[in-house]
Amino acid sequence: MCYTIKQINNFMGERVATIMKYDVELSRLIKKEEIAQGIFDFTVKCPSLAKKAQAGQFAHLAVPGKTLRRPISICDAVGDSLRLVFQVRGQGTEKLAQAKVGDDIDVLAPLGHGFTIPPRGTVAFIGGGIGVPPMLYSGKQAEKAIAILGFRDKAGVILAKDFEEACSQVIVTTDDGSFGLHGFVTDALRTVIDKVDLVCACGPTPMLKAVAAMAREHNTPCQVSMEERMGCGVGACLVCACKTKKDNKEGYSHVCKNGPVFNAEEVVW
């Protein structure tokens, strides 16, 4: 069997969401805003991807001139668009932030295993810093959502209004008390944990660890979204290793496929 140009073209034409699980879409940047110093809020139009997106999944964005894509969580999926909020950290995100409305961004999405949100009950969605954005779409999936959003200071607060609209309760904390509660997200979690059925969290590892510990203390199930440097983004190259324990055996799971969301109990901190 040989491979003809016709077949090749067919393959390229046929790669529609209904046939293949993974898809790349050249997505038009239709809205762009710098919502805090160095934090960008992008809305990209990608109908076939947006309709498949689930809470806690991520998009893998090609950056012109870079060999590796950059993983960015899905902050929200509305109609035929995805909302992606990211912080400029290094060269890739800096380049991404230069995209102009009207530019096309090469998006591979939706990837990974997201949050598993039960149809009923109260869920606490905890975001720390740039871990806040993915909790928005997640929060929308719960019957009753309590959002706890932690930031360094007032200037870093993002998306507070969006959460107000999406969740039943929103608690904002800042490390320095310049906005909302003075303290850490765990301080806020302590005040509500007795009324929640599940804790979902995304943020820096020390925060996740603390949240997981508190949830465990209270016998509350907890799901955490992990970060690791990625290659393929789909589970083939095995670079995005995260140490986990299953059936009492330690090994490496992969953030891009088994995660980014893991049961907190599985993670070997």
Binding site: C2, M12, M20, T67, A241
Partner: protein
């Protein structure tokens, strides 16, 4: 239209593009993008006799036009591969190459024996993995050791045997000759070039293994040079790889002397790269009035 099929050591491929070992797992993930028959073949993730957990993260870093990786041969072991992955792969209508790595020549032989009794199409012996303490690289850097291990594995291997060469050597042509002399049916090259990046704020190497293997466009000129040097030294076919990311690169590597190609890192940038590259090769052959890929192989016209 030109025929994209190639024959390497008696094995027929639908087209010259083979997924590079370690970048494509055992094919399942990329089969969610397109049928795996899109590829001429798949070189599976390197397997070892026993399951291996691999290195702690971080396992990857970016470099100018390339990447470093140090996965450390995380894999479920040869038995698991034969039981769980191979049957599925066999149904994908593509050539299946099993990539193996061992701590000792005996381990290589044991794996080759096990795989000889399966229906894998070829065995690719990785004697050049730079990312594990005893993952073969010590076998890959001298003519004597390459000769010895090729000889040993050749005896217990009933499948066509590909020896995968390391670029981290002074004289790759001599090493290729040793592999050929001891019965390799083909060589594949290049594995990754050892490199390092350091986080200047912490002083920590970005990769937990400290060093990692460099791949991607940055290494392409080194790969082309080595394929050319080896093509002049041996008569068995060369499977060329290292930084191929466009159809032009693929054509260049064929011209340098490769009979077939592997592509790895480019998949991370563009999962559909194999389709685009195959299309480009076919159009180039047509434009040049060539009937087959083999007519392009080794057509370099050095000064």
């Amino acid at each position: 239209m030109a025929d994209l099929g190639v024959n390497v050591a008696g094995v027929q491929f639908n087209n010259p593009l083979i997924a590079a070992s370690g970048t494509f797992g055992f094919g399942r993930e990329y089969s969610e993008f397109y049928p795996l028959s899109t590829l001429g073949g798949i070189s599976c993730k390197g397997i070892t006799l026993q399951e291996r957990l691999g290195n702690p993260p971080p396992r990857i870093a970016e470099t100018p036009s390339g990447i470093l990786n140090a996965v450390g041969l995380q894999n479920p072991g040869v038995d698991h591969f034969i039981a769980e992955d191979l049957p599925w792969l066999r149904q994908q209508n593509t050539v299946v190459i099993s990539n193996i790595a061992g701590n000792t020549p005996e381990e290589y032989c044991q794996m080759a024996e096990k795989l000889s009794d399966t229906d894998v199409d070829m065995i690719e012996m990785n004697i050049s993995c730079p990312n594990v303490k005893s993952g073969g690289v010590q076998f890959g850097t001298s003519c004597e050791s390459v000769g010895a291990i090729t000889k040993a594995v050749r005896r217990c291997c009933k499948k066509p045997l590909i020896v995968k060469l390391s670029p981290n050597v002074t004289d790759i042509a001599s090493i290729a000759k040793s592999a050929e002399a001891e019965g390799a049916d083909a060589v594949s090259m290049i594995n990754t070039l050892t490199g390092m990046r350091i986080d200047i704020n912490t002083g920590r190497p970005i990769i937990h293994n400290n060093t990692g293997g460099m791949s991607g466009p940055a290494v392409f000129p080194v790969a082309v040079r080595m394929v050319w040097q080896v093509a002049q030294a041996i008569n068995i076919p060369i499977i060329g790889m290292g930084g191929i990311s466009t159809w032009q690169d693929a054509v260049e590597m064929l011209i340098a002397g490769a009979a077939a190609l592997q592509i790895g890192t480019v998949l991370f940038s563009d999962p559909y790269a194999p389709i685009k590259i195959n299309k480009g090769i076919a159009e180039f052959l047509d434009k040049k009035g060539l009937q087959s890929v083999a007519e392009l192989t080794g057509t370099i016209n050095p000064w």
